[in-house]
Assembly symmetry: D2
Homo-oligomer: 356 residues x 4
């Protein structure tokens, strides 16, 4: 018997990405779709059509099954979460602040939204990286008196960074991290998204709020589970986040120094050995991190689909002459591992551990 799943925000681009991530899933069945008033009450097929122009507003791989197309989209405000085993949310921050706690009274909520990421009793999970943080859900339930819980995934730019830092932090202890991102335009979504006039033949050197998010989320993700909260890791993180003319896949250049000495071979070995346990989960990749030898990789267009978009590719691992540590370039699929499919992987981890 598959678990029953609802997708809230199912008509937006972030919500749509749950469809290919869940449609043929061995453990989950989509039995609910919800959206805002504009689309509620329509069939999903109709909600995906622009009424004026007839244009299809579907932006992902594959296409919803005939069954999903015929499903009526519910109003997110009215969704009866108790009908589902898990609710995935992909909505704006403001409505999330109200709706996610409401759903969580009865049901586990896995969220792509930033609303609750930094609350003390809320774990932000990346399976294989900080799976032990899921125990914080017990505290959250106790604190809030919920049967369910809210657990958000991190920002898509944080995701690849935290995954590649984790094995170094565990083995050598991180001291300083300096990162520059070259982020894909899909990270900005479509409302309003990035205008072609602004990015063709161009780089935009600023993404409002992004650097602060990545810095504090990385520290929380790699922190240690304390008494009812996560004690953030104490290494310094300094980011510069930019946007480039790439459709999907965030590239990040990373320089790290470690507390214990760490050379290139040790770093590569630690990365290669990391996260093998999640390969057993249905959405888990064989390699959480792939360390590439060819210096011309990772390239977003060429490498983003590694592990069906769930593998973070690392390349150019080499000594760093400024901090005395190592440096590398990473690539993470921002709309797969860093979004819906990453949230599904969290569901799988929770289920494996009896939380779903």
């Amino acid at each position: 018997m598959k678990k029953k799943v609802a997708i809230v925000g199912a008509t937006g681009i972030a919500g749509q990405q749950f469809i290919p991530a869940l449609q043929d899933h061995p453990w989950y069945e989509i039995t609910g779709l919800a959206a805002s008033a504009r689309n509620a009450g329509k069939t999903y097929a109709k909600a995906l059509r622009d009424e004026k122009t007839g244009a299809l507003r579907w932006w992902c791989e594959g296409f919803p099954s005939t069954e999903l197309q015929g499903m009526t989209v519910q109003l997110a405000d009215d969704l009866d979460a108790s009908q589902y085993d898990v609710v995935f949310t992909a909505i704006d921050t403001e409505p999330a602040r109200e709706l996610e706690p409401k759903y969580a009274q009865t049901t586990p909520v896995i969220s792509t939204v930033s609303a609750f990421r930094m609350e003390p009793d809320v774990p932000m999970l990346i399976p294989g990286v900080n799976s032990d943080h899921l125990k914080l859900l017990d505290a959250q339930r106790a604190n809030r008196g919920w049967k369910g819980f809210v657990t958000p995934i991190p920002n898509c730019t944080t995701c690849g960074l935290a995954i590649t830092l984790a094995p170094l932090h565990r083995a050598f202890g991180l001291d300083k991290v300096i990162m520059t991102s070259m982020q894909a335009i899909s990270g900005a979504g479509r409302s309003p998204g990035v205008l072609a006039l602004d990015i063709i033949d161009n780089v935009i050197p600023f993404i409002s709020g992004e650097e602060e998010k990545v810095q504090r989320e990385t520290q929380k993700l790699l922190g240690t589970l304390g008494n009812g909260s996560v004690v953030p890791a104490d290494f310094a993180v300094s980011c510069t986040c930019t946007r480039v003319a790439v459709l999907d896949g965030h590239t990040e250049t990373v320089v790290v120094s470690t507390k214990e000495p760490c050379n290139v071979e040790q770093a590569a070995a630690a990365m290669r050995a990391f996260g093998k346990e999640i390969a057993k989960l249905p959405s888990g990749p064989e390699h959480l991190i792939h360390v590439h030898e060819d210096p011309f990789h990772p390239q977003p267009r060429v490498d983003r689909e590694a592990g069906d978009g769930m593998t973070t590719t690392v390349g150019r691992l080499r000594p760093d002459s400024a901090l005395g540590g190592v440096k590398y370039v990473l690539l993470s699929h921002n709309t797969k591992m860093g979004a819906a499919k990453g949230a599904v992987l969290v569901a799988e981890l929770l289920q494996q551990n009896g939380y779903l």
Copy 2:
């Protein structure tokens, strides 16, 4: 009376860029054009046409004057440098090793080529940054018994980095520098250049040899003039050089720590005050560095033509939480300040100082 100028490598894209840089110059007149055997003996107009397809092979702003179009292209090997007051070279490294010393026996050679950049008695000049290094030319002439000399400009990626570091180094003493570049495709030229199949919807995270060049050239540029050579600056430089789908303009993210404390306001003030003396040179921009307040700048497509391509634009100047210094994003026009027009600026500096 204008000085007589020859351009060697005049049919390639790097050589062509000297035409708009010199064509209406108040001090210089192009009286010689030279190239390899394939084009020698043709008029410049004919050399710029593909014989088979009739396609024009001109890739720069403006167009050569009628007079230049009618000028016969000489064989670079046979160029009589003594007929010119200065020779600009834009050729491959291998032929440069032979030809530049030959020309230098009689004539000052300003080179866009890397062949001699790291030789002890060869200054690599950026006017306003290390103008005092030109005295090394006296040593070079003495050492080599030349009437002329060879002085190369730095790599286009080094150029913007060194310009923005210079005021910080002077005022506060640099300790560590960590840089990531997002370089324009024009930096790779056209032989073979970057294929569209490799860069559309993509980032290439490696440019062979580039990082090492930038690291050592920066230290030499900001070094101090010793006895017959430059003593490289002793701060650490660590680079990651990438290629992005931008036509012109290298973007670089920079994190620096300094020996003396330096906050954002001090750094901005030092940059803004820097290099004013070169505004008097014909190709010198009013501002060598423009510090932008708008966090969405610099953007290569929007800001590259600042100061007619001779101003380096700095933006996002802010404190750095990892090294405790400052960080910023810079933009430098790689085919203007970082190439032909930068070489012309060197000529102007040399002339102002009696070396031409």
Copy 3:
């Protein structure tokens, strides 16, 4: 004494384009700026800043003069048109339907908007192409009892097509015209404009309403002046309008058949001889049409600035084996000749003829 000019819609991208077109104009002085309620009452400098992010919302060449920056933006609804010699409008169609007639009661209105293009007593002018249609303004004034008038410029995609067809129609009589456009993204503006996610590595084969506009506007533009209206030309026009990843410059492939025989040399000669009279106007290019011999041209990025964006470049003129006529590729700068600067050229023509 320069004529006084107001720009209505001055904060949008289409309105901003009037600033570089008018700022150093020998005949006109910008003395009024107007916009909708969101920006009215602010200085122009303040209206061009995003309040939240501090980002500059200026998307054109150059920058408004200090004087213009300090000018207070008026509410378009309240603009007293009688204070100006001419009003340029760049607003949405709906408000234009109300505002343009209101302004026209006292003042000539030159519009970039489609609202009145197809009204019988409204000429749609391209100087050099159908300058004689300006006489229709007498009828318009008589009909409507206005001191001023409304005269819109055509759609930017129509513009280059009509310019290149006009000499062929005059000399040989057009029979059939088949056109495919590859339109620049700037043609869609910024509200909402074209998303990068939709156009990178892509072509969009449909622009809603565009083909019908181009077909009927071309017939009106090349029609003959009748009694109080234009009798549309009777040749057939069939268009396919697509969007490509080009910033500025609409490329169009055109196949034509003519009533009288017309070979390639005759077509080229007719195009080259065409429109010389407008070279005398301040914004008029030396060549209204440039016929390129190099088969690799026109290219939008390389050729769009020909004649400061006012020359239409034609290339690949050759016989057509299907209709027995000629075919060619044209390039027209959609945000210069096809927009604000084209409207300024209309003002110049009107002034030359005593209508301003």
Copy 4:
């Protein structure tokens, strides 16, 4: 027992595309790889590495199996074709003129090269479009005394045009065809291919020789089988071929007039019903032509993988006001149906008909 297959030109991009097309094929097994002297004698894995930089020179989906990686690349000149049941060639035209006839003495050769396309006794096959032309192979064998034969696939730009014209020609008889292509950069390959400097923010309005090829190949493809040759179809074809910044997928706008009246519904019905018989072949798509109702399609990035790259997508089918026929936009995957995978489909057709 699978048939034994050799790929000649296996290290180039066009040859590499045969690997994913054949690697898991139910009927074929790759037992030979051949290339020019530069790569002959190396293992395939080694031939795919750049010796200097270590960069992988593999540009397609998937990756060669371990077995293929270990296979030694033979010298194309020395290949013993008699060891294979079929030879696929993807080499330059000049060597093809010599090698293809040599291989054909013993073995069927299916070629992606243009060398023999227009020879009278050489059929150029698109399964489903002109399958009956394969009988010309009997004449070819008789004429030339070969046990094998040479059969080339058409140019990638011809392919989608001919497929969509075929049902109209059969049902209504074509009169005139006017086509504009917006071709992907992959169509130009990598030697030298399209430079990013030439196509970003640009359109190139000319592809040397392409228009003539498409015109005459279309007439041959849709011609009728005569006595030892194909009698070309007599409708007129007029093309304008351009290059746009798209990675894969040729978009073409098409205007047709027919001898018998043909309205939009009839045209759509004819296209939809067409080519069903090839769905049974292993590489045959379920729909040879998909007629899209959404006016914003076909889009190359979104629709190119339809039918695993073997379906031609048609959209915007509507009446044409100039010729009185219909017009539409088509999209064909130039490196799948228009290249290696299309050649494999030809092999399947030939085998089904006893020619392999």
